[in-house]
Symmetry: C2
Subunit: 287 residues, 2 copies
Amino acid sequence: MRDFNEFNITDAVIERFGATPNPRLKQLVSRLTAYLHDYVREVEPSFEEWLLAVQFLTRTGQLCDEARQEFILLSDVLGISMLVDAVNHRLPDGATETTVLGPFHVDNAPLLENGADMSPGMSGEPLYIEGQVIAADGTPLEGAMVDLWHSDQDGFYDVQRTDLVGPIGRARVRTEAGGKFRIRTITPSPYPIPYDGPVGDLLTATKRHPWRPAHVHFMIAHPGYETLVTHVFDADSDYLDSDAVFGVKNSLIREYVRHEQGPMPDGTPVAGTWRHLQFQFGLKSRE
Amino acid sequence: MRDFNEFNITDAVIERFGATPNPRLKQLVSRLTAYLHDYVREVEPSFEEWLLAVQFLTRTGQLCDEARQEFILLSDVLGISMLVDAVNHRLPDGATETTVLGPFHVDNAPLLENGADMSPGMSGEPLYIEGQVIAADGTPLEGAMVDLWHSDQDGFYDVQRTDLVGPIGRARVRTEAGGKFRIRTITPSPYPIPYDGPVGDLLTATKRHPWRPAHVHFMIAHPGYETLVTHVFDADSDYLDSDAVFGVKNSLIREYVRHEQGPMPDGTPVAGTWRHLQFQFGLKSRE
């Protein structure tokens, strides 16, 4: 086949993918071709616009390294990450809603005892987190692995700070009897997603801000259940209605209750105010 | 707005782009969001598939440098480059059809006299190119700048060869009276697009070959006319019906006529066979 024009080229490209052995890959590339071609036919990009898109994608790839994933950011700000999350997590009643993983998770954070301080020496309003992990049917899940991470009071994760020896502000803890866990830390702040690259240029050109509301990330795993990736947002935070990555769900917003004086529930003394976050996490069975 | 789900998130993202000052940019990002979200809703990529896509795009960006543009290759093999070309070149009768620029053009190739040899010392069957540049209404265009480039007999461009001091196999020449130009060179071969990167992996996984039929590239500029970017394909070449980048059009295929002995039309002696390509190029007025 030759002599392609704007009307027949889409079928020609899809036909060229016709011998793909893996049927799922064949579906993914064929339908991607169809959608991208429809987009081009509708908006009719000029050659210069096409070249700008090529350059934008190139810069996005070249900014990626071990500490930064600019294509995930791009997926996030286009709402694609949350949409992929949504189509993969149609949840039963009782299961906690999910949200984006984000670019700041680190594998194998320190495994701490219940009640330990996961942010020793860091400045900020103390935060006492108490959680319970249950199955969607209400059964408490002992021995679940709870992975937590959050920004500091200036809005930075440990991996973004060159003045810190991490990991800090991140930990893993196992649930005890009754599915309960507790940890001490500091209260996170809202923060901007990194905006000194092409994704930041896109936000600037479209008059969008890069901020996310304050939150703690949780990833919770237990055999026989789907691993839960979610956040719990601070109900007092700014940006709950304009999260740059569209990650906020009402069911994930909690009051981080402020107390005027200590001690904290485990008896730890506190000099000034402190906050208390309690949340029950429901896991979806793999069945 | 919060609490996004797979049905309302698309409108939410598009609304977030609502304050974009440039109306064209607003259209491009809003409609891209709509098409990509529709794709995700249809194929429902798993988290693992989404991550593979992120990694594929990252590798594609990281392979780009001054000598290689892997995102242009990706656009080419998905037929997007030819589609963008098609929607930008709805041509009047008499105008030569266009095709992809490709990744091997170099600015400011040597400006040669008519009749010069643009591939001195290179091995291959000699090729004598005679062209005429006219307006779509038939008026000959004297003084047009004709930029030519092509692969060698092994299928490589000068910029791909580390054993060559280029530029060679590329030149610019101005049309004389009557819009005519002529140049001596060697006959190009079919060649594979670079397939040692992510685009090559995509072709392999989908059982597609990376070959392009033999051709000479032409870019022709003249004040008052749209710059013409095209190829002339060798009618005897393999792959005319399966060009990896969908660039072949029937009107751009010509016989590179083989002659058993010399001399060439300008009197240049030839030891063995040589070939003769003649083509008339029609430019579209900017009006």
